[in-house]
């Protein structure tokens, strides 16, 4: 029995080896040629751009963060073989393709205006007060085309011109602040800073507040649950286990 358990763990380790200890050339069947900042490398075809850069021998510090598409650190621009278009992508979420020519953009230089969200008035003019640059939008849609999240960036910039906080909040909600839109915008708008401000304004002033949480905070402050805590924390482990099991059996599911 004991031996079998060890085998299981060893088999698990073996099965996911390639993603943990680095790629071993002998395991690879399919290869592609890519250019990293102009230099040619042959890399395994099944890798993401990020994994391919590492395979090629770069140890990343900049341009690598969560490795899962949430942090916006690994903005990359590339052209495919024979294609005139410049593409934007997250290196950790994009598979390499044969003939790809790429460079990473580790940082987007842009100053953020300072504000106190609690003091601002919830009116459309504050958007232009802090972000007058949005008025320069020429509706060229380059921001939308460069967004690796496929957000309708230009639409939320237009919502800003109308003072529509909710429209900006919803349109930009999945923004990972990678900066590719701002870097490509011919009007030099910094879309992601404006959207951050607008979401907070909407969250603070625009959306209705939950009442349950307010009353629960008050109940806790008044000590409503103290006796119950004292009782539960005074139980023996066996008694607590019993309470726990009963509670699990009354659980809400969907």
């Amino acid at each position: 029995m004991k031996k079998k358990k060890i085998d299981v763990m060893e088999r698990v380790r073996e099965a996911s080896k390639a993603v943990i200890t680095g790629v071993d050339d002998k395991d690879i069947e399919h290869w592609v040629d890519i250019h990293i900042m102009g230099k040619a490398y042959q890399v395994p075809a099944d890798l993401t751009i990020m994994q391919a850069i590492e395979y090629a021998g770069y140890r990343l510090m900049r341009s690598c963060g969560c490795r899962a598409g949430f942090c916006g650190a690994c903005s990359t621009i590339f052209r495919r073989k024979g294609e005139y278009k410049l593409q934007g992508a997250m290196a950790c979420q994009t598979r390499v393709e044969d003939g790809m020519m790429l460079v990473q953009i580790p940082f987007s230089p842009a100053e953020k205006p300072l504000y106190d969200i609690r003091e601002e008035k919830y009116e459309s003019s504050v958007l232009l007060k802090y972000f007058p640059d949005v008025a320069r939008c020429v509706s060229c849609n380059t921001c939308t085309k460069s967004c690796p999240q496929n957000l309708q960036v230009m639409d939320y910039v237009q919502a800003a011109l109308k003072g529509d906080f909710r429209g900006i909040a919803e349109g930009s909600f999945e923004c990972i602040q990678c900066g590719l839109c701002a870097i490509r915008c011919p009007a030099e708008i910094v879309q992601y800073h404006m959207a951050q401000f607008a979401r907070r304004m909407y969250g603070r002033h625009g959306s209705p507040r939950d009442k349950n949480v307010e009353s629960r905070v008050g109940e806790i402050e008044k000590g409503k649950f103290n006796d119950e805590f004292d009782r539960v924390m005074g139980l023996s482990e066996a008694e607590l286990k019993d309470v726990y099991t009963k509670q699990q059996n009354t659980r809400e599911v969907y």
């Binding site: 358990k5 698990v12 969560c66 349950n212 805590f229 009354t250």
Partner: protein, 553 residues
């Protein structure tokens, strides 16, 4: 050789198994297997959970936790030489002199900075250092939600009992109590700062359950919960002009003659220079250890999750807790290869997705606590041989995501899980139409530097918050309690460190005597290694390149 032919993202043989999933789907809607009994849970953990299965761990030979068990990968880092030679560091010139040094810029560190500021420490007397960018943290990747017992049929006491049971009754009771009591306040704080949560038209939170939680108390921002919380707090932090050093990890703490922690040596990774930071209080908020790939598991964690905090704190004498446990999230991606190990939020199962074997059969209640659920997946794949084998040789379990739209209505998957839908779409898979393949993945550091209800440690001057700390979750954390922990204990550490500073702290001569002692103890304990830590970053370079590497520049 031609590449493997894929039909809408999957090879033909996997399609055959998907057909079995589709066949059983209609009769599975609304029907679930029963939960396991406590005895069944214990049995399956002992059978094949990586923490309980033999091997993989050893006893620590030195330091405050000498005699405790830890995974080999963790012990290797604790029992290693420092990156610096203490005598070669010039401590006579202090580069930054501050009241509160915060090491780590995720939800915990950022919350701590804001609360220290709220409690009277001027922004310019706070310094936050981060290994990568401010916000490069596991917090950013938290998907499912944040627990807070705020609905009328719920209470902080029920939350406490759920978390205690999930943690196998090993949580520190007083620390856990503060977690659940502060939870509604944290949600209200986030609302005040303008975080946008999922709400209905009346402004009430849309709340869900998680594995092992008995009431609906998960507050979410679609499946970008951590990202929304952290970017709001970071924006607030930036508005207050709190100083920050990026790409400057702390590589050792500093201690004075009284063994108090009085700052840190930080290292600018881009210029290779070190800087001396002295502080009246130091808050460690460095996160977890997924990138250690314990027992060879892939991970959901961000690039910098390398256990640096406990390594440097241990040298300064900090006591650790629950070093023997690791949380494996049941549903990491197992296919396609490009996303192996990445998180598929537990909320998918909360919303109706069921785990199934290769025959399209259910084999476990979908919402057992994470360790139990993960062990049951490993059993199904490697003991019962009912897993689906991928082209790269991994085994996995189907997570029947198309059920979500069937249960919650058409369009609900896309609305609730934009990040998940997007990720699979990028690799050719439509999770609204087809199931996705999952296998447990290394997710969370349950234990860590032992904390008390104020976020203080056994070392004066050293506070901890978030994943780096130990005690609040015991030996297994429940969903939605990690982002909560970061903010509750980030806030507590921020407030209490501010109070500690305001009472008047005399910073002695900053030194590295504890590092010298550590080197001496290593030698006397007979530890033979040339490893130097903290690790800072993992190394995924190709083997062929490394074999030809020369370090000359």
């Amino acid at each position: 050789m031609a590449e493997l032919k894929l039909i809408e993202g999957y090879p033909e043989y996997m399609r055959a198994s998907i057909a079995l999933v589709e066949r059983t789907r209609p009769q599975r809607i609304g029907k679930l297997l029963p939960q396991m009994t406590p005895q069944e849970r214990e049995d399956i953990l002992n059978l094949c959970h990586p923490d309980y299965a033999p091997g993989g761990k050893r006893t620590l030979k030195m330091g405050p936790n000498r005699g405790d068990l830890a995974p080999n990968e963790v012990a290797d880092l604790l029992e290693a030489y420092p990156l610096i030679e203490p005598d070669k560091i010039d401590l006579s010139q202090v580069d930054y002199e501050t009241d509160i040094l915060i090491i780590g810029g995720g939800l915990a560190g950022t919350s701590a900075a804001l609360l220290a500021n709220d409690h009277g420490i001027p922004a310019q007397r706070i310094l936050l250092t981060n290994k990568l960018r401010h916000g490069d943290a596991n917090s950013m990747m938290a998907q499912g939600g944040t627990q807070a017992a705020d609905r009328p049929n719920d209470s902080p006491v029920l939350h406490y009992i759920d978390a205690m049971g999930g943690g196998h009754f090993t949580n520190k009771p007083d620390v856990l109590r503060r977690l659940v009591e502060d939870a509604p306040g944290v949600i209200r704080w986030l609302e005040d700062l303008g975080a946008v949560f999922d709400k209905n038209d009346a402004g009430e939170f849309v709340e869900l359950t998680g594995g092992g939680t008995s009431r609906k108390r998960m507050h979410a921002c679609s499946d970008y919960t951590g990202m929304e919380e952290l970017r709001v707090l970071r924006d607030e932090f930036r508005n207050r002009k709190i100083p920050v050093l990026e790409f400057c990890p702390a590589i050792e703490l500093l201690t004075d003659e009284e063994d108090k922690v009085v700052g840190a040596v930080v290292w600018n990774m881009e210029t290779d220079e070190y800087k001396i930071v002295t502080a009246k209080a130091t808050i460690l908020a460095t996160g977890g250890f997924g990138r250690l790939h314990i027992r060879g598991f892939p991970t959901t964690n961000h690039y910098g999750a390398t256990y640096d905090g406990p390594v440097i704190a241990y040298r300064a004498g900090a006591r650790l807790r629950d070093t023997d446990t690791v949380q494996y999230h049941p549903t990491g991606a197992a296919y396609p290869q490009q996303i192996i190990g990445l998180l598929l939020t537990e909320k998918l199962r909360t919303s109706g997705a069921q785990p199934l074997n290769k025959h399209g059969e259910e084999f476990v209640f979908p919402l057992e606590p994470r360790d139990v659920e993960a062990a049951s997946f490993i059993r199904e794949c490697y003991i019962r041989d009912n897993g689906i084998t991928t082209p790269t040789g991994m085994k996995g379990i189907w997570l029947d995501t198309p059920l979500i739209d069937l249960i919650k209505g058409k369009g609900s998957t896309e609305k609730a899980f934009p990040a998940m839908v997007r990720m699979f779409k990028r690799f050719g898979i439509d999770m609204i139409k087809d199931p996705v393949l999952v296998f447990p993945t290394l997710h969370y550091q349950n234990g860590g530097v032992e904390t008390d209800p104020q976020g203080a440690t056994n070392i004066r001057g050293l506070f901890v918050a978030g994943e780096v700390s130990g005690g609040v979750h015991g030996k297994n954390r429940l969903m939605g309690n990690s982002t909560l922990d970061c903010m509750v204990y980030g806030r507590r550490a921020g407030r209490h460190s501010a109070e500690y500073v305001k009472k008047g702290v005399k910073v002695g001569t900053p030194g590295l005597q504890h590092v010298k002692n550590h080197i001496r103890d290593m030698r006397s304990s007979g530890i033979k290694t040339d490893r130097r830590t903290p690790m800072l970053l993992p190394d995924y370079r190709g083997k062929a390149v490394l074999a030809r590497g020369i370090d000359i520049f």
